[in-house]
Assembly symmetry: C2
Homo-oligomer: 398 residues x 2
């Protein structure tokens, strides 16, 4: 017996990344973890904050009746209300608990949304570079992903997106703050995009949804604010998680926030609840729902990431590697330097070259942006500083 | 903007069941919870055992570094090993951690399996009656569900299943102990089914998988054992959860166990890991993985369910309602009595009639078995005993 052909094909395609991770583990075994500058994975090294630990132990100890049993598919009513109150403030939109669907992380939230809105062959537009898993998520639900290049400064290219809209466009999916570029999309850009989507709706009778994937919303620098899609556009949804701000990626907890102004709101909400159920999520994990509801006052450890970002930028400046100025996230997206010596010069060649110097990054091609490389700085600041000589040597020999 | 047509259609279809639940809640508000005999939902009323609470508080308090972060998609290696040890004994198959994929409950496990094995248009065979969500799970992944009637005694009809196998059959999905009939499939039946699947493989070159959905494995009566598909057939998988035996349905924790003898085992395991990731599960909830791994000595509270079963059977006998003898689960599947008065006599008519007597059950049609009705006895034994006069009155007036 054999597995599905599409899955078999995907395994072959993703083996490169798996290989990279495996090689990283081998390098650490061989040279010691402190000698390998692993900037490859976006797995927060920070532990969850003390308030998380306190809330978890308190709620686990309470052992309230029914607290581990089924609740309505979109979540405990009290949890949805608590999440809505904070999300209302963040999003500048009047959200009540009914607009919140608790989800198994942002990846779960996106799959639930795509299951709900995609007819077979419907298109989802994303701005390249983009998180590589989006393609698989869209394929799960019979959709087609259309990638549109971002502008020079990695802002959304609204004109190009508008030109790509068709009668089959179910949604535009954005990610802000953005992985891998660290870009935060300005309010005016979201408003321009909203206008383009409305205009398309007037012409075709189908107004696409705007979906914003926002797990990095709290990890922003220099006092910047992340503008809200719910405020900018009536047919919008936010998919997010507590994985990055509370360092809980293994617990699979997040939510969907739906625009109260969406057309056919009741159908949309019922569809999201149905998708949550039949995709097999059934509901977001019960205990973690109650824990995050108790932590709506908690903030991400932005100062720690800001210091790491500054340290990393210092290293890059020293070695002359160009980077996109990061406004948020814990990624630095860097241009592959011009090759001075003979030899292949693609982004994957550069990451292979860096690996010889025990530096691990992800080629931009993995985000559909060749010629670039992503470094994740959710690692100790010392490791970042210690990487400077390796970066210098690598660039000198490139 | 509108949601996907298939989802919109499914909402219309599932509104009957939603309506039933809503009516149940209204009845309880009106008459008081103790006066409404709600046997409609399979939500264990038992709280998790004290050992669960102890393990949860201990592991939550420990606050081990990385315990809420990402781990490999199939789960913490130590958890997979612990689960494999118990599953090996239960299944009579030499499982190691590598054969275990931790999942978000059995519903999550089934979606991961179906994503992994179904090509578009591939068929999945189930034995009717069957859990109504299977249809949606198969549709999620582009498959087609083929229902084959079970035998008179609700055992699998292996001949009929064999006659339904085609070149497009990816798998046969069974559920034992069985919802809604309480049937446990005997070893000989599994072996006959395995022979039929092998024979089909010899003829067509495609040997279907046998998938067993086993969340009720521990809830069996009269010393019966649940025979193992992993022992009976080389191309087999088990999907299960801790929802029923430990009363944890809200926490979404379960696992897939894969036959070590499966052809192309490495591809199958890699496919399941890939599906776990891209369906947006990413991994089963981290803390609950560690909790269930600490509870491999724990057993379900079978004696409590056995007493309820006996109490319910007493009520049914008194009123002359025929039932399928339950070997496991907490369901009683009953024949709609012959109608003595004029009027419609379908299973949904009978459940509507019962509702007037404040008894709630699910029509067999919801499981593709008209003429029957399912009662769930995961409720207090007193409520079961108290329902006797209502049952007597309802049957007298039918």
């Amino acid at each position: 017996m054999a597995i599905a052909k599409a899955v078999k094909g995907a395994l072959a395609g993703s083996s490169m990344i798996r290989k990279m991770f495996e090689e990283g583990s081998e390098l650490k075994k061989k040279y010691g973890a402190g000698k390998v500058f692993d900037f490859s994975i976006g797995n927060p090294d920070l532990e969850p904050p003390p308030a998380f630990h306190e809330a978890l132990v308190r709620l686990a100890s309470e052992d309230a009746k029914g607290s581990h049993g089924y609740m309505p598919n979109p979540g405990f009513p009290g949890v949805r209300e608590a999440v809505a109150q904070r999300a209302s403030r963040e999003q500048g939109a009047p959200l009540s608990g009914s607009h919140i669907i608790m989800a198994s992380g942002a990846a779960g939230a996106l799959n639930v949304i795509l299951k709900t809105i995609l007819n077979p062959g419907d298109e989802l537009i994303v701005s390249a570079p983009y998180f590589m898993e989006y393609g698989a998520y869209v394929a799960n639900h019979g959709g087609v992903l259309t990638a549109v290049d971002s502008g020079e400064d990695f802002n959304l290219d609204v004109e190009a997106i508008a030109a790509s809209l068709t009668e089959k466009t179910a949604a535009v999916l954005i990610n802000s703050p953005h992985n891998p570029t660290g870009r935060v999309y300005p309010r005016e850009t979201l408003e321009e995009l909203a206008s383009a989507l409305r205009e398309h709706g007037r012409k075709t009778g189908r107004k696409p949804y705007l979906v914003s994937d926002e797990p990095y919303r709290e990890i922003v620098y220099d006092g910047i604010e992340v503008p809200s899609v719910l405020a900018a556009y009536e047919e919008s949804m936010v998919a997010t998680s507590y994985s990055k701000n509370l360092s809980l990626p293994g617990e699979r907890i997040g939510y969907i926030a739906v625009s109260p102004r969406a057309e056919g709101l009741d159908d949309l909400l019922a569809g999201l609840v149905y998708a949550t159920r039949v995709l097999g999520y059934v509901n977001a994990p019960a205990l973690m729902q109650r824990v995050v509801a108790a932590l709506t006052g908690e903030k991400a450890a932005v100062a720690v990431y800001a210091a790491r970002r500054d340290a990393f930028i210092e290293v890059l400046k020293e070695t002359g590697i160009e980077y996109a100025p990061p406004q948020g996230t814990f990624y630095l997206f860097c241009k592959v330097p011009a090759r001075k010596k003979n030899g292949p010069s693609a982004d994957s060649d550069f990451t292979a070259h860096l690996k010889k110097h025990l530096i691990l990054g992800v080629p931009g091609s993995s985000f559909k942006k060749p010629g670039w490389v992503r470094f994740a700085y959710c690692v100790d600041e010392k490791l970042i500083r210690d990487s400077a000589p390796a970066f210098r040597a690598a660039v000198a020999e490139w």
